[in-house]
Structures are given as structure tokens and as C-alpha cells.
């Protein structure tokens, strides 16, 4: 099968999954009483009378119709961008919250996955080509601990060791609360004057926005706030990656083609680089999907620990503050992110290893 047909088939396959996710979220949504669904749509500052607002919201959601029809109303509302409203952590539409907070989560996820891949390949090559040595044992302990330790425990350890104003010994410099230290005077692009929320236009990523607006002090502060969450997440992913790269390396070392290469006198470094590592990395790509799921789960907990205002933080605060649309819409968004991440992983895998296209 050609790559493009594989891609097409794979893209078509996500349709039932996406529909399934929306059905699941819709079932959760419908298990709440109508009044709760409507109440989020009532604007206390509006000039319209309360009854009229309720009527309008009910019509929008199709609440007077049978439940299967309501599902299509729900889908059309999603497509129209009518995702419901929250009052906490800010009063406004959920979609705005997702727009504000999602970039932060994506930033954490991307930084930590890039960092972990950059670290995992050389370390994995090193320990995988020396099985049962001290370095290998150390690497195994390292990845075992990373696998067994929940990400927040590592985050807590890092806070105790490097958190600003926590440790008693010097060098404790890294902030662990929030996205950035808001400087005075407040830059016009950073804060929403009414709510005091960090909105940071245009990309909603403080670090990059500060660079765009040419403010190195804010950029440095934003960078420092990134360090601890990214390191914590990196370790979680790195542990899993190392485990698989090592297993793949050991597996590939015993293959016949490696023996052939050795017997014809290919230098050892070349064997490790060309024959062993390349083949060890291919199965590692398959577990990337699982690692991305673990990463997204980790992001939720880590954002709470470091009060990093991302999508996971939004989801959890919405849960704790009973913001129904905040909870269920973020569930949907997390589902969509994971579906598309898996799609990309599968396409990359098919690109790297033509065997699986069949």
C-alpha cells in the first residue's frame, strides 16, 4: 500500500473514535438535570429577563426534544463554537478558556517530549550496547523508578530541592508557582485588566510573547517557571522511552544481520549506529502513543502541583468548582488531542517502517 492510501485509511479510522468520544461526553452531559445544563447559560448582567434567557438556552441546546435529537444539537453546537460557559476560574465561554490555557499545556508537553527524546536516544544507545554492565543496571534502576514514581512525587522532590524559598541551603532559585512573575508596571499585553488573568497575546505563551514584545526580563521569568514542570514531565517520559530503547537494542543485537556485519568487519561504532540503533528505534515509535497518553495524564497533575495555568489545571479547577461545561469540554479536547497525536505517531511509524502499511 502506498503511504498516502495508508494515511487516508488511518484518517478515516479516527472518525468513529471521534464520534465515540462525543457520544461518551454527551452521555455524561445528559446524566445531569436540564436545569444545571441551562443554568450555565444565564448571564446575570444581561438585560433580558431570566425566563426568556432560559427559553433561549433550552432552544439552543434542544432540551425540549428527544435525547437522540439532542445529540445532533450538541454536535452542531460544538461545530458552531457554542461550547457552554463557566463562572470559574473566569466568567466567560469555555472556548475562550481552552484558547487561553491549551497553548501552555501543549508547550509543556512538546518541550518535555523533545527534551526526553534528545536525552533518551544517546543514553539508550549507551546502556543498550553495554547490557549487564554497571551503566546498564543504573539505567534500569533509573527507568524503573521513573516508571513507578507518580509524576507529582518527583515534582515535590524537585520543589523541596530547588524551589524558591523552600530549601534551607543555597542555590534554591527556581519558582514553582504559576506561569510568570508579573512585573510592575504590568506590560499591556500580559494581563487582562478586568479579571487580572494572564492572557498574554498573541500566542498565549508568555515566554514567546515576551520575546515578540522584546521584554527579556519577563521571558527569563517565564523560562524559569517552565523548568521544574518540564523536568518533571521529561523524567516520566524518559523512563518509559529508555526502557523500550534498551529492550529494542538488546533485541536487535541478537539478530543475524548484526552477526553478519560483525563477521565482515564493520566497525563496532557503525554497527551500533546503523544496524542496532535504527532497528531498535522503530518499535519505540509504537509506544510513543502510550507515552503521549501518560504525558497528558501527567500534565494534569503537574499543572496542579505547579499551578501552571494549562488545560489540565482548567479541567481540575472546573471539577472542583462544579463547572459542568468546563469539565466535559476539556475531556473532549483532551480526547481530540490524544486522537490526533496517535494519528501522527502512526503516520510517522508507517513512514519509517514500510512493513506495517500492509
Amino acid at each position: 500500500m502506498e503511504l498516502r492510501y495508508f494515511v487516508l485509511r488511518r484518517v478515516l479510522l479516527i472518525i468513529p473514535t471521534v464520534i465515540g468520544i462525543t457520544v461518551l461526553v454527551f452521555i455524561l452531559l445528559r446524566s445531569f438535570p436540564d436545569s444545571l445544563l441551562v443554568s450555565a447559560y444565564i448571564n446575570p448582567h444581561s438585560t433580558l429577563p431570566r425566563q426568556e434567557q432560559i427559553q433561549i438556552a433550552k432552544e439552543q441546546l434542544g432540551l425540549n426534544l428527544p435525547v437522540p435529537v439532542q445529540y445532533f444539537y450538541y454536535i452542531s453546537n460544538l461545530l458552531k463554537g457554542n461550547w457552554g460557559f463557566v463562572t470559574k476560574p473566569f466568567p466567560g465561554p469555555v472556548l475562550l478558556g481552552i484558547e487561553l490555557f491549551m497553548p501552555n499545556s501543549i508547550q509543556l508537553a512538546i518541550f518535555s517530549s523533545i527534551l526526553s527524546i534528545l536525552l533518551a536516544i544517546p543514553i539508550g544507545t549507551y546502556i543498550g550496547s553495554r547490557p549487564n554492565t554497571f551503566a546498564d543496571q543504573a539505567g534500569r534502576v533509573f527507568s524503573l523508578v521513573g516508571y513507578a514514581m507518580p509524576p507529582f512525587v518527583l515534582g515535590i522532590l524537585l520543589i523541596l530541592a530547588f524551589g524558591q524559598g523552600v530549601s534551607n541551603w543555597g542555590g534554591a532559585v527556581l519558582p514553582f508557582n504559576g506561569v510568570v512573575n508579573v512585573p510592575t508596571p504590568v506590560p499591556h499585553w500580559l494581563l487582562n485588566q478586568e479579571t487580572g488573568f494572564i492572557i498574554s497575546s498573541p500566542t498565549h505563551l508568555v515566554f514567546f510573547d515576551a520575546l515578540i514584545h522584546g521584554d527579556p526580563r519577563v521571558a527569563w521569568s517565564a523560562f524559569l517557571h517552565l523548568v521544574l514542570p518540564v523536568v518533571t514531565l521529561t523524567y516520566t517520559i524518559l523512563a518509559g522511552l529508555l526502557r523500550f530503547i534498551r529492550a529494542g537494542m538488546v533485541d536487535a543485537t541478537n539478530q543475524e544481520y548484526v552477526k553478519t556485519a560483525r563477521s565482515k568487519g564493520v566497525p563496532e561504532g557503525m554497527i551500533i549506529k546503523r544496524h542496532i540503533r535504527r532497528n531498535a528505534l522503530i518499535p519505540t515509535i509504537t509506544v510513543m502513543g502510550l507515552l503521549i497518553a501518560a504525558l497528558l495524564s501527567g500534565v494534569v497533575v503537574i499543572e496542579i502541583l505547579f499551578t501552571y495555568h494549562g488545560l489540565g489545571w482548567f479541567a481540575v479547577t472546573a471539577t472542583l468548582d462544579n463547572q459542568i461545561y468546563g469539565v466535559l469540554d476539556t475531556t473532549l479536547v483532551f480526547g481530540l488531542i490524544l486522537v490526533f497525536a496517535n494519528l501522527i505517531v502512526d503516520i510517522v511509524y508507517a513512514f519509517m517502517d514500510p512493513r506495517i502499511r500492509y
Binding site: G20, V23, F152, I304, T331
Partner: protein, 316 residues
Amino acid sequence: MAEVNVFKKNVEPQKRNPKLEDMKHTMKLFFKNKLAFSGFVVMMIYFFIALLDFVYPQYLGVTNANTMLSFLYGQQPQLVPPSPPTLSKGIMYIFGTTQYGIPVLPAMLAALKFDMAYSIAIVAIGVAIGMVIGTASGYLGGMVDEFMMRITDIFFSIPQIVLALAIIYTLGDNFIFIVVAFMIIWWPIYARLSRSLALSTKEMRYVEAATASGSSKFRNIFVHVFPNVLSPIFVQISLDIGIIVQLFASLEFIGLNRGNPYLPELGILINWGNQYIVYGAWWPIIIPSIFLVVFTIAVSVMGDGLRDVLDPKLRR
């Protein structure tokens, strides 16, 4: 000339029980693996603490270990900061106290029975549902298989914590609903695993032979496919128990379980400790964390060891 019974060697094997011998061999291999064995020992220690606590809650010095307030020994709960580890106040205070002056050690030990009992319940329900669905859909194939796999896809495409969060929000924020939420989301793992195993098993010669000798589909699934699916599932269970305990702690750490806030749970202890981290109080947060991490490491080491001995390919 003395009669030499040349058949003696041939008679003996009939008395032997091959399954039992195989099991003995497996056990021997497992106990030879020092890492896996130490994981097993740690796990057993945890298990016996949980069991002891379940049967005799009085050994912790309280009559009702289901609420952390009973560790105040009759005092009223006041919001006092944690006090550091000390030997002078007795063995219960050896790891200091946490919020409300609750001693860390007994609260931590009391948490074990909940974690153990409920994580085992979750995997039991998950295996019961997932194995039946997975084996059946793998063996039957066709539309049933396609439909069931699309359903498991949905569960796999939402991060576990987020899905658990949404389900807990829907059911109610209570420890028992956290357990129910995990029961809802945990079966697809076993369904997928047992499906893939059933797919490879059904092509085996012995299943073919059974079909040829008149075995029905139903009998094939339960008598011939099921037992061969069991051992990888067993490995998965041992790994999952650690992950479920981790996820309990994660969910409580992010602030869930508001329904019974004094339930002795590691996540709640860590959450309380987290509020005092800026004051440099390490014991209410580090001690329960280490307790949790040792448990999950022991479980995963044991699971890896089990995989090594149960998988015939890795056995040599």
C-alpha cells in the same frame, strides 16, 4: 539374574502431574530472580499490614481506622501546622504529624487496606468484563470484534486521569465513586490484551483439533482459549495494581475525594502535606510519597519477574 524392571521409568510419568510440576518449576524460576523475589516480599509485607489493619484495626491504637480523625485520640481537630518527627511521643509519632496534628505513620498504614482492597476489586471486575469481551470478540471476529474494538478505542483515546475526572464529576466526588470510575475505565485494557492473545491462540493446532473432534465455539473459548490467555493477563494485573494505587493518589492529590476528606489515603496525606511544603515541612509529604513509591516499585518489579517466568519464550 535379578529382574530389572525396564518399564519402571515408563510407569512413573503417569503418576506425575505435569501441571503441578510446571507450576513448581515456574515458582522455582521466580524465586531464583532476586529482584522479583524482593518485590514479592515487600508486596507481602504491605499485604499483611493491610490484612492486619482490616482484621484488627485496634492494633493502630484506634477502634475506627476508617477516618483519620480517630488518630487524634479523642482531641478536637484543630488546624495546627505539622510537627516534626520525634521519638519522645511514642512510636506513632515517629514520622511526625500532618495537618490537624494527625500522626503520619498510623494514617499511612491505615491507607493500605483501602488501596489494596479497592485496586484488587477494580482489576477483578476489569478482568471479568474485559476477558470475556476480549476473548469472545477475538475468537468470533467480524462485526462483533469491530464494534467492541471501536468501543475500547474510545476509552484509550482519553487520558485515564481526565476520563476518571469526568466520570467522578458525573457520579459524585466520593471515594467509592473514584473506585466505580476506575471500574468503568479499566476493562478495555484487558479486553484488548485478551483479544490479541485470543487471535493468536485460535489459529493454534490444538484449537483446530478440538474443533475437528466436535468441540463447540463456546467450549473452545472457555476450555481452550481462556487458559492460554490467563498468564499474560496475570502479569498485567500485577502491574496494574501499582498503577491504580498511583492514580488513586494522583486524583486525591489534585483535590478530589471531597466526599470523605478524612479518609486515610496516601493521596490525601500528600495533598495536605503539599500545603506546608513552602514552610520546609518535608515529613508529611515525603514519608507517604516514599511509602507509595516503594509499593509501586515492588509491584512492578514483581510483575516484570512474573512476565519473565510466565512467558515461555523468555524462560530460557
